[in-house]
């Protein structure tokens, strides 16, 4: 059975559409956005407890913080930051009804590609600062999130570490542990 394929596009996160990113985070992440926020694997507690929404608008992160549009409707986002020459994926999330349509892969492939290319100039022909070389891409995944683990493994990521009690802000008695997955660039 064939499907009428949707148009997919990415757009940068800006001061104007930040409300859309907020809405997506509030709706997609169970227990609220904050519960899923943590710092780098070594940090004990969140070093950027404020201003994620400010951070994602930084010019040097433009290629790594995107909203994804499905037939012109924003339905998911990817937000990264750069930590010690490594790319860290903070969020990669899609609204439930739009999952399993290749949006996650679309976004992940975009950032993996961007990580090894120079930034695209805003005005064609403008000189751009070559990007500092990034050694790897990594992220935290909840140990019970099978779908996500399979997804990243299929893209060449490997589990490199297990962090106990990583998701400290999660409510309830559930498992708070996370795996760190990483992929060399």
């Amino acid at each position: 059975m064939t499907r009428i394929s949707p148009r997919l596009d990415l757009a940068s996160v800006t001061r104007q559409n930040i409300g859309t990113l907020r809405r997506l985070n509030g709706v997609i992440l169970p227990g609220g956005f904050r519960a899923w926020l943590r710092g780098s694997p070594n940090a004990q507690l969140v070093p950027y407890s404020d201003g994620v929404y400010e951070q994602v608008q930084a010019p040097e992160l433009e290629d790594f913080c995107k909203l994804v549009y499905y037939n012109d409707i924003p339905v998911g986002s990817v937000c990264c930051r750069i930590d010690d020459g490594k790319l860290y994926i903070m969020i990669l999330a899609v609204l439930a009804p739009y999952r399993r349509e290749g949006l996650g892969r679309y976004m992940l492939e975009h950032i993996l590609h961007a990580a090894v290319s120079d930034p695209v100039p805003i005005v064609k022909g403008d000189k751009v600062q070559p990007r500092k070389k990034l050694e790897s891409v990594y992220m935290h995944v909840h140990v019970e999130n099978e779908d996500a683990l399979n997804f990243y493994k299929a893209h060449g990521f490997q589990v490199v570490q297990e962090v106990k009690e990583y998701y400290k802000r999660m409510k309830g008695d559930g498992n708070r542990d996370a795996y760190v997955l990483s992929k060399q660039l």
Binding site: M1, T2, R3, I4, S5, P6, T14, R15, Q16, N17, I18, G19, T20, R22, R23, L24, N25, G26, V27, G32, F33, R34, L37, V46, S49, D50, G51, V52, Y53, Y70, N71, D72, I73, P74, V75, L95, P97, Y98, E101
Partner: protein, 857 residues
Amino acid sequence: MPPSALSKSRQLGTKEMSLFRQLLQQHDERQYKKGVKTADAILKKNPEHGETLAMKGLILYNMGEKENGLEYVRRGVRLDLTSHIVWHVFGIIQRQEHKYEEALKSYTQALRHDSENVALIRDVCTLSTHLRQFEPLVEQRLFLLKTRPSMRTHWVSAAVALDLAGHHDKALTILSDFENTLTDLENADAALKYEMSEVFLYHVSILEKIGKYQEALELLTERQPNICDVVAWRESHARFLTELNRGDEAGDAWRLLIQSNPENRGYYYGFFKTKGIDMTQQLSEQDKASALKSLTLFLEQFPKAGVIQRLRLDLASGESFKEIAHEYLTTRITKGVPSLFVDVKALYGDAEKQQMLGELAEGYRSELAKSCKFTSSDEKTQPTTSYIWTLYYLTQHYSQVRQYEKALEAVKVAIEHTPTLPELYLAQGRTLKRLGCQAEATESVEIARELDGQDRFLNGKTAKYMIRNGEIEKAEQILALFTRKAAVSSATDLCDMEAIWFMREEAKAFNKKEDYGMALKRLHQVFDTFKLWEEDQYDFHIYCLRKYTIRSYLTTLKLEDELRQNKNYVDSAIEAARIYIKLHDDSSLVEKITNPQTDGEVDKKAQKKAKKEKEKAAQKAKNGKDTDGLPVPAEDKDPRGHELVKTEEPLEVAARILAPLNDTKRIDLHHVQFEVAFRRGKHAQAMKALNSTKAINADCRMLHVQSLRLKQALASDEKESDQVKQALSEAMDQIIPSDANLESWNADYLQRNHHYPIRLLGAAEAIVLIRGESNAKDAVNIVMNVDPKTLDPVSAAHIKDFIAKYDADRVDEFRQKVNAQFPYNDDFKSEQQLDEEKKAREETRSERLNAESDQSK
């Protein structure tokens, strides 16, 4: 246009004579300072020289000393009443003051003493056109043509004047004569070619106007090589052939046009007219079928033409409609066309189509949820967004057919599915608004706005909802995101930008808050804007004739003539008149508004804001320019509209506002015209208003009550002459028979209209008038017993006001009754209920913000 020619005998010495000539030149060259010196030199010797005084006045006026300048001009006129110069100068200034009628009078005076001054005549022509005084215009234009026939524009201007005055044949003769003077057009320069092309098309349009299609067609055919506007030529050609019943040729002409632009609906209408099918009328089944068949053929030729597809929906019915509609809806839902519902809304006038569209969309909804297809037999599955657009359509569908609960249910599902589509929140907001739940509606559109700060439409929409919800200050803050940063405030910028919607909404909101000063201020801003639009045409009287854009010019004149029939204008006039009536009826209002005894908090805030705005304005006024480099507007001398409220004669102002309006279809206009006339003691005018109301609705509640009031007033009228009284009482007889027993007259009305709550109120109001206010409780009983099922929110609000006036203790009882019927409507909720809802809204909001937040608590 400066006064130029010198008058003959003005008793100046030779030296002064040459100085005066110098003065005129200095005025023309705008050497104002030198001009004043020259004038003073003449006046030193001839202090009573009128023309010099007038010229000095004109120069001072142009230098910005308006008062002083005007004084000099007036003196000049008094001292030399037979000089064309002083009158011309006076006319120029009156024109600049926008006193066009007075200006024309002065010009006419000037012309009496210098009848062949071309510059003067041209100014007179412009003013006559502006004031629509066509007969004198014709006279002057023909004079100009006779004096200087070598000027091409004089021919055309004369023709336009004759045309405007209704002398079409004479206009045509002039145009023909003019056209014959020109030969060898093929080799003319481009500018002349274009001008003549417009002249020919104008010529043709007059012939069309008076129904001479054969001549029009001949001229059009003859002049085809000279016409630059090919589309206009083809359209006229097709129209004339159609009017002349030359079916096949006409059909081909329309086909040619359709080929050039298949998206123009008018071309298909024209094509069908050649087949004897008038699409603007109700069509027979046979005509519909035959039109539909032609459209199908066109569609094969232009499969992408949206207009053809949409026209088919107009014409089809039954099963065939369903089939076409299915195709129409599904392709657009798949594409994600947000305007789909608005596009097909016109079909909702047809009950059968309305139902079918709803059924189709419901079918899609359930099938999409199940299998991601519109129908189970579809080959391909749909993108996920099709489900959302279907729900969006259904929301608007149910909102339109007043099944609000279903609309809210559909949009709720949609928002849960895709919470990032602003349109969904807007549709939800609109539905809530229709239910009278303005507070909740405002919250909904605000959520949409937060999604996209760049969207000006969302910004304006949200502000509008906030104003309606009484949150005026907050709305102005939000609007400021898109208005000029250098402006004193967003409100002043929007008024400068002639945003009528903003003025209207704020006026309504201030009116509701009983801040009549601000309400009147905004309403007068509406009037001023319309006045400005009217004045805007002034320059075009000169410009268009010079540029030969005659056809568009005449359309503009027509638009200007109908300007004040615009709904915004009429609504504003009625609203302003009602406020002035309130000010007249309750003289304590002025004091309340100008010296509000508010609790300190609110007052301080308002004062602070006013102070801030003043400072901002003062800071900018330093160099006369704001940070955008635009001139700073003069300080607002009446920022709260208090001066407007303080008027000594509110009724006279109201009467002046209403005077130019004569829209016979607006029943509320006649109502308010009665109220003003009645209070001014103008009983004949009041009677006229009653008759106008009666012509629209003989059982109208206002007619019932107002006629009774007038009858009672006439009985004790001492002022009018017997003759007038006689005429009025005869007219009254037609509405309330003189021998009628008022009680039974009212009982009859009640009997006849008891299914209409608003008329029930009319009967109750009549009881108060007949039995006196001491028996008002009888009247209250009548409206208390209204059947809630027959109520509508507007009538209920009027009834509530009536009860509040005569039996305040029972207001809450009535409120509860209405509340049970319209649980969403804010106007009938208890304070407690409103508070609880507000709290719930705030809680939901903070929960949502909390879930979205990146900040630790």
